[in-house]
């Protein structure tokens, strides 16, 4: 099974550069504005788009993404409308991989089998579910792989030698290295610490490794592109939505930052 994610990383490898992976929340600040942002991201240089599924109790997220989730819920976002958003995006784009990211309860409530069927049809390529560690693989990870959707696992600074095999087993698409123990929006760690952790991880897997947490500028994104196959940015983009005075400004401001970040990533040839 080859997904859009696999194809994208293969293509980037032959181009000799890393991926810029952008995160925004579905329905933030509302459905139509979020759609415009997502539709604009590929042209702004996003190689992969992560879309947050809002949840009332995002216990691994910092204030910026918590607020994004609350704005999305207040605008009436549901898992159904999130899938609708992706269907609409896919009408104009069949290439850019889409990864849904969030917490398990909304998916469990929707029904795992129905969710996987609807997500596949809508054009979802991968899932990141923060509260499903390897111990809970039967819940969604294994059914997702069987349905042809990548299950992308998080590795963290606490993922030691003993733990790493459990994290890598049943991982697909790419591995997301959370570069600091903390919630989203935390400060960036030292580059040398990240590089050391990546050396250890890469010795154990052939999966592409993307790094997230703490990346806010094109320069920081470039630094990560030096040592990883992808740089993930969420909080900094989402904050642009929070500080915008209008929906038009939100679209413009997010895409402007996305362009800066992707330019940083693209400035590094591997």
């Amino acid at each position: 099974m080859e997904t859009r994610i696999d194809r994208r990383f293969a293509a980037l490898k032959s181009e000799g550069r890393a991926a810029f992976i952008s995160f925004v929340m579905a329905g933030d600040p509302d459905h139509d504005t979020a759609l415009k942002i997502i539709q604009g991201l590929p042209a702004a240089g996003a190689d992969i788009i992560e879309i947050g599924m809002p949840f009332t109790d995002p216990m691994a997220d910092g204030p910026a993404i918590q607020q994004a989730g609350l704005r999305a819920l207040a605008s009436g976002t549901t898992l159904r409308s999130t899938l609708e958003l992706i269907r609409t995006f896919r009408e104009g784009n069949d290439e850019t991989p889409i990864v849904l990211m969030g917490y398990f309860n909304p998916v469990y409530s929707y029904g795992v089998d129905k969710f996987l069927k609807d997500a596949k049809e809508a054009g979802v390529d991968g899932l990141i579910i923060v509260d499903l560690p390897a111990e809970e693989d039967d819940e969604l990870c294994l059914p997702a792989q069987a349905a042809g959707i990548n299950f992308i696992r998080l590795a963290t600074p606490t993922t030691d030698e003993k733990r790493l095999p459990a994290v890598l087993n049943n991982s697909s698409g790419f591995l997301y290295y959370v570069s600091i123990a903390g919630t989203t929006g935390a400060a960036a760690p030292k580059q040398s610490d990240v590089a050391m952790a990546l050396r250890r991880i890469k010795a154990a897997t052939d999966l592409p490794v993307a790094v997230g947490f703490g990346i806010r500028t094109g320069k920081q994104a470039a630094d990560i592109a030096e040592i990883a196959e992808g740089a993930v940015v969420g909080t900094a983009l989402v904050e642009r939505i929070a500080s915008a005075n209008s929906n038009e400004e939100a679209v413009h401001s997010v895409l402007e930052l996305a362009s800066e970040l992707s330019a940083g990533v693209q400035s590094v040839s591997k």
């Binding site: 910092g62 549901t78 159904r80 998916v107 469990y108 560690p133 590795a155 600074p157 606490t158």
Partner: protein, 403 residues
């Protein structure tokens, strides 16, 4: 309904009670949770751990707590004989310290340097601040802003014992949000921090270890009632938020088939309104705070804010073992409204000279339904899980009294 040989063997190796429980946490926490499980398994086999815990429970907490025959409540209802298990007489005024004492010893054995906890009514926060002071560890308590307002005495008690109390302003600003914030702290400070969870919920092994540390309640009741009456009780009654006091009372009796076990959820303004905290009666299975259990949630799987006059029951979930016992039919779960709890609170004050916690008042509230029609030789044990000094402002407010 499946018949099992024992109700006391759970959880299974993966931390599940039937479909409930599990380990639904961020990867950052998994290595630590596995380490905690190992530390707990080792502690269970360590006679020194057991001896130290028993000694502290006796000399510091003041156990065993009395099993008191409530003569005037018994007369008032005119039916079954009512006993109160006096957890309100423990040091810090509730059952919460039984668990905190066990967990602080685990924290110490794991070499952790900092303690965090969430709290609703403040009883678990006070108990955590207490053991942290006793063992000289810095302590941070997360408490919803709404709860800080309605539990001022407990906030001050925590501060007196050196704890930092951080107001949580996200979501409904109550227990659920305090737990989110504590989890965020833990993810950030995972290397040196021990999270003392206050109820029989959270990722495995928390529901199990909290239960085991609270089982002392039921084990004492078995011994005490046998001394007093020459036999075991007929009915056990306890309030349920997350369910730790109820689990501690019930678990040692789960395999005594003839004994009725009744848990009382908080019905708030009523189960037919959207303001209650009865996750079993008004919720359905879902995943939150590390475990699968019954949750108050909307059609899209978003968590609904709970409501109860009692801050300690104001939580949209329930421990996973209770969820399983509910499905198995071993424990009956009923509910009491804010008003019924307030009435029972006053009745207990007036008839017994005991000010019960508003949480425990929910269990007392069910006596009027249960006790009058039962024969005089029927024995009910109610878990008086905490004392109500902390609730006097809330009660005064509800009664329209200015103090």
């Amino acid at each position: 309904m499946t018949k099992v040989n024992t109700y006391r063997s759970g959880p299974d190796d993966t931390g599940h009670f039937g479909i409930y429980g599990g380990q639904f946490v961020a990867e950052t926490l998994m290595p630590l949770i596995l380490e905690l499980n190992d530390a707990y398994e080792a502690a269970k086999k360590d006679p020194e751990f057991d001896a130290e815990l028993k000694s502290l429970l006796k000399h510091y907490v003041g156990r065993e707590s009395p099993l008191y025959f409530a003569e005037r409540l018994t007369e008032h209802f005119g039916g079954a004989k009512i006993y109160l298990k006096r957890e309100d007489l423990n040091h810090t005024g509730a059952h919460k310290i039984n668990n905190c004492m066990g967990q602080i010893l685990l924290a110490r054995s794991m070499g952790k340097k900092r303690i965090i906890a969430e709290t609703g009514a403040g009883q678990h926060g006070v108990a955590t601040a207490t053991v942290a002071a006793r063992f000289g560890l810095p302590c941070t308590i997360y408490m919803g802003e709404t709860d800080i307002e309605r539990q001022k005495p407990n906030v001050f008690r925590m501060k007196l014992m050196g704890a930092e109390v951080i107001p949580v302003v996200s979501g409904s600003r109550t227990l659920k949000d305090a737990m989110n914030e504590a989890l965020r702290d833990w993810v950030t400070n995972v290397e040196d921090t021990f999270y003392i969870i206050g109820t029989v919920a959270g990722p495995h092994p928390y529901p199990t270890l909290v239960r085991d540390f609270q089982n002392v309640i039921g084990e004492e009741v078995r011994r005490q009632i046998t001394e007093a009456e020459g036999r075991l009780p007929d009915t056990l009654l306890a309030c349920i938020g997350g369910g730790s006091n109820a689990m501690g009372l019930f678990h040692p009796f789960l395999d005594d088939e003839g004994i009725d076990l009744i848990g009382v959820e908080a019905a708030g303004h009523g189960l037919d309104t959207d303001k209650h905290a009865a996750s079993l009666k008004g919720g359905r299975p879902g995943v939150l705070h590390g475990n699968r259990t019954y949750l108050l949630q909307d059609d899209d799987g978003q968590i609904i804010e709970a409501h109860s006059i009692s801050a300690g029951l104001d939580y949209p979930g329930i421990g996973p073992e209770h969820a399983w016992l509910n499905d198995m039919g071993r424990v009956s779960y009923v509910s009491a409204t804010d008003t019924e709890a307030l009435d029972a609170f006053q009745l207990c004050c007036e008839l017994e000279g005991i000010i019960p916690a508003l949480e425990s008042s929910h269990a007392l509230a069910y006596l009027k339904t249960l006790a009058p029609d039962l024969p005089k030789d029927h024995i009910i044990v109610v878990n008086l899980s905490g004392r109500g000094d902390k609730d006097i402002f809330t009660v005064a407010d509800a009664l329209g009294v200015v103090i």
